[in-house]
């Protein structure tokens, strides 16, 4: 049967008349609230409030309740004293590697595989990563993340990215490893390169944030501010010098909805267990390698060789070399190690910024390699330049302020 165009349209009209109900769409409260969170004028204060809530719950749960409330006591008062007293061969190299400093009164300073190596991932980082992923999952499942992507789109275009870059950026605050994978949602090679480089350099992971909150809570805000400024400055520069295009995005923003318990449980478990599998072996390995290097005198030698760079250019003690080596394995471990080195507040800020922007941890390094060796080499080139520029700049600022 062949129908003419008119007959076909008539048929469509008859079918739609019987099956489709026409009416005027009425905005619901959900729609109206959703619009408020997307428009810049109203959306930015809401985003600031969401960040406030995120950060406040993170600090209260991970810092006050879990780590300071119970785990510091468990590890420092019970575990450390027990293992220091009962581990055989005090003074031997095996004791030094596994238990660490026999005179240490806390697990941060002991730096043995069985003391700091267990305290850092389970005592400090695990609560931080758990609460981070729980809140991130809630925001995703409620439907706030796509709105944040729309809201921040204009700002991110200035650094060659688009709104969806907020997904790897926020994920990176939990762990850089899944964040590197998440850069695949960006369309062009230029965008992926910029994102990967920025997150490897300027975004501290949840583990590092947890440790910073524990050992340097007073200066943490300043450090994060420096990193944030660096993220935008170097993003802007990279956008100007790297050829390629940054396309616009079209996002389907879902309506707000109640998260389901099953989904939240599965996502949090998947992400937290993924973190444990990636982090714990590297923390233990990090303690082992750094202790062996200390015993072999390699770190002292490296400290002496690199002392002109560290003291004159960065303005930090040469002992930070050990932390930078540990940073390649785990950055949280490196920050923990820095806390045991005697230095001024400003040297501490520079050191922690250096640890953050210095080489990505080995797990992230492997993930970046999977994305392509050219991208990895490019990122590393940018990284070396950033470390020297930014580290030197901080030293210059402190010197001009008279505190360097």
């Amino acid at each position: 049967m062949k129908l003419t165009v008119d007959k076909r349209w008539n048929l469509i009209e008859r079918i739609s008349g019987k099956t489709v109900t026409f009416g005027k769409y009425r905005h619901t409260l959900k729609d109206a609230v959703g619009e408020l969170t997307v428009k810049p004028l109203t959306g930015i204060p809401v985003a600031i409030a969401v960040l406030y809530g995120f950060w406040s719950v993170f600090c209260s749960f991970a810092g006050t309740l879990c780590t300071d409330g119970f785990l510091v006591k468990l590890f420092d008062v019970h575990w450390l004293t027990w293992i220091q007293a009962s581990f055989p061969g005090k003074g031997s190299w095996l004791y030094y590697i596994l238990v660490g400093d026999p005179l240490a009164d806390n697990c941060f300073e002991a730096f043995g595989v069985l003391t700091s190596g267990l305290f850092v991932p389970f005592g400090v980082v695990l609560p931080a990563v758990f609460i981070f992923y729980l809140m991130l999952t809630l925001l995703e499942d409620i439907g706030y993340m796509p709105r944040l992507a729309v809201l921040i789109d204009t700002v991110l275009h200035k650094i060659g990215l688009h709104g969806y870059a907020i997904v790897p950026t926020v994920l990176s605050l939990g762990c850089n490893v899944p964040a590197v994978t998440a850069t695949r949602i960006l369309e062009t090679r230029k965008e992926r390169f910029i994102m990967m480089t920025l997150l490897a350099i300027f975004i501290p992971c949840g583990a590092q944030l947890g440790i910073m909150q524990e050992v340097i809570p007073d200066t943490m805000g300043l450090i994060l501010l420096y990193l944030l400024i660096g993220y935008f400055i170097f993003g802007f520069v990279l956008n100007k010098i790297i050829p390629g295009r940054c396309p616009e995005i079209l996002i389907d923003v879902p309506s707000y909805q109640m998260p389901t318990r099953r989904n939240v449980k599965r996502k949090v478990w998947m992400r937290t267990s993924g973190f444990l599998k990636t982090a714990v072996p590297f923390v233990l390995l990090g303690c082992l390698v750094v202790n062996v290097l200390y015993l072999a005198g390699v770190i002292r030698w490296l400290g002496d060789v690199l002392s002109p760079v560290f003291i004159s250019w960065f303005g930090v003690p040469k002992e930070t070399v050990g932390s930078l080596i540990a940073a390649f394995l785990r950055k949280d471990l490196a920050v923990a190690q820095l806390s045991a080195i005697e230095m001024t507040k400003y040297q501490m800020i520079t050191s922690v910024v250096l640890v953050s922007i210095y080489f990505p941890c080995v797990a992230t390094f492997v993930m970046m390699l999977k994305e392509g060796w050219r991208e990895l080499l490019g990122s590393l080139g940018v990284l070396v330049a950033v470390v020297f520029l930014y580290g030197g700049l901080l030293h210059l600022i402190w010197t001009l302020m008279g505190v360097g």
């Binding site: 905005h27 409260l29 109206a32 408020l36 204060p45 600031i48 409030a49 809530g53 209260s60 006591k73």
Partner: protein
Amino acid sequence: MGKNNVGSVYFGILGVIALAFGIADLVVTIGGSSVCWGILEIPNEMFRGGWGGFIVLFAGVFYLSGVKNFSEIHQFSKAVMGSILIWIVAGCDIFAMITESIPGGEEGPWLNTLEGFLETYSPLYPPAIFLLPFSLVAIYYIRKRKQYGG
């Protein structure tokens, strides 16, 4: 006076108070020392006073901007958003109290004593906690709208 006019006046007054609390929070943070008035404490810390105060101030702005033509859904949603901002700040303050009240402290037992636990919840309270019960009136209006299919 209709229900919507009552709502309009109510959220207008709440908006002015929230705005005043927000400004006070910011001024005290910049000024440098906490201010106590009865059981109210305006903290001078950068995080709760500065950042939190900024949010309370915006809650006030949201309430006030939603006052005109309150029954219209987009205007009403501004009052709801003002309340959501208050819930975030007050919720975080309460959660911080809860996390402080459970552990027994560095030298003490694992769990806090009953006195220590209850002491954490005693005054002084920050401004957002004072605004919290008044902001819950938004729920009443949400339910009312639902009843009438709004």
